[in-house]
């Protein structure tokens, strides 16, 4: 392989990476224009990717919870569900959840059947009223869940929770800088190995900018009811990937 074709291959791989990155960003969306740099300066240089990851502590937790009431008639179930849902929402606000952070996500009425025994038997009607509540004081999460459970009694349903970082601008910027430093280190090493001096960056493409992925972990569930439900926020990670094309200093 001659040096010329070798350099072309590097450029090709670089272009492909940009293409893949663009496709990744647009996954599940409408097709977009993809620009691959084919100018002369892009065919000479070093192309690397850099990755930066920064971990932060979540500052909010979103809980999906509600009531699910079975009654003999729709009217009975709906009435009980309304009372229970009201008590549940009140317990949330009493325990520090702001009213603007509580939103209804589902309301449904369905019949419920028992399929055991010899025939399908109508058990009653189920009315579900589900909300999403954002808790901004993470330390109160256990207490909020416990109070909601008491308020809803056996009709309470908790569908899970997820932690996130509401304000992650600084984290993302730090991850971007780490990704740049990573790319620079790689490129410098490659320039040195090939006996050349690294030039300026000619093309920089931020390929992946993932939202924080919560990595929650929970402690052993409390058996003693007097003990508050333990909730551990864990950490959330922000990852940035850059594709950088450097020129070579002559």
């Amino acid at each position: 392989m001659t040096w010329t074709t070798h350099r072309r291959n590097i450029a090709l791989i670089g272009g492909l990476a940009v293409l893949l990155a663009a496709c990744g960003t647009a996954a599940g969306s409408t097709p977009q224009e993809i620009t691959v740099n084919t100018s002369e300066e892009a065919t000479s240089g070093i192309s690397v990717s850099g990755m930066g990851e920064v971990t932060g502590t979540p500052d909010t937790v979103e809980v999906g919870l509600g009531v699910s009431v079975l009654g003999e008639t729709v009217d009975e179930a709906a009435t009980t569900a309304a009372e229970k849902a009201r008590a549940l929402i009140e317990s949330l606000t009493t325990n520090g959840v702001a009213e603007e952070d509580i939103t209804t996500t589902d309301y449904s009425i369905y019949p419920e059947y028992d399929y055991s025994g010899n025939e399908q038997r109508l058990i009653g009607y189920r009315v579900s009223n589900t909300v999403k509540a954002k808790i901004r004081d993470l330390d109160s999460t256990g207490a909020v869940l416990d109070a909601a459970t008491v308020a809803g009694g056996d009709d309470v349903v908790v569908n899970g929770l997820s932690f996130s970082i509401e304000d992650n601008d600084e984290l993302v910027a730090a991850a971007r800088e780490a990704a740049w430093n990573d790319a620079m280190t790689k490129a410098n090493q490659l320039a040195e190995l090939s006996g050349q001096t690294l030039g300026e960056a000619t093309t920089i493409t931020e390929t992946v900018s993932m939202p924080p992925i919560p990595i929650p972990y929970a402690e052993e569930a409390a058996v003693d009811r007097a003990v508050e439900t333990p909730i551990e926020p864990g950490t959330s990670a922000v990852t940035i990937t850059l594709q950088v094309q450097f020129g070579l200093a002559s």
Binding site: T103, K134, T203
Partner: protein, 209 residues
């Protein structure tokens, strides 16, 4: 030559409508009987919707079906009867009366009432999308500025801008405290929250020499 970044923007507004999937499902011995009862119940539900503030043009039938229903227990297929379902999607523009409307629907349709869910939204998203687009642009610009600074360049003009995604975002909660009027029967509490739309851009910037 340049910097390519993506930008994401989100804009929020108080919802000004709620869409409710509601209907009736009736089981009877004959198709004719099921159809007759379903028609009565559906009319009652429709009347409740109208009385509750839903405009006739904001009501659309989304499903109508007639099917036999069987019981498969005891190793046998046994005909239970015929099920007629009639479902509408109703758009209510006074979101504060959602709770009372759901209650009147349940009363009107009785045990044949079915509610399949609801979703809050903004009827005209144009200005909301414009705000989300501006936020996405600012996001892309900030990213590119940082990368230009890190690489020792001065950011030039955008050379290619592609809007990649546009659509409803993650709804942010916000309550409209209007369903607190208590009657002797506690009305269903509904929290409309906040509607959100998002825009994503792919922007390519040049360098300034």
């Amino acid at each position: 030559m340049g910097i390519t970044v993506s930008g994401a923007g989100e804009a929020n507004a108080e919802p000004d409508m709620v869409e409710i999937d509601v209907g009736v499902a009736v089981l009877a011995d004959t198709v004719e009987a099921a159809t007759q009862i379903a028609t009565q119940r559906a009319k009652a539900v429709t009347s409740a919707l109208t009385a509750g503030g839903v405009l006739p043009e904001d009501m659309a039938t989304t499903e109508y079906s007639i099917r036999p229903e069987y019981d498969y227990s005891d190793n046998k297929q046994r005909l239970l009867g015929y099920r007629v379902s009639n479902t509408v999607r109703a758009k209510l523009r006074d979101v504060a009366s959602t709770g009372p409307l759901l209650d009147s629907i349940a009363s009107a349709g009785g045990d044949e009432t079915r509610v399949n869910g609801l979703s809050f939204g903004v009827a005209d998203e144009t200005s909301l999308l414009a705000r989300a687009r501006e936020a996405a642009w600012n996001d892309a610009k900030a990213k590119a500025e940082q990368l230009a600074a890190l690489s020792g360049h001065t950011l030039g003009k955008a050379t290619t801008i592609t809007e990649t995604i546009q659509g409803p975002g993650v709804p942010l909660p916000r309550m409209i405290a209007a369903d607190m009027a208590m009657s002797e029967r506690a009305s269903t509490p509904i929290q409309p929250g906040t509607s959100s739309v998002s825009v994503a851009l792919q922007v390519e910037f040049g360098f300034r020499e």
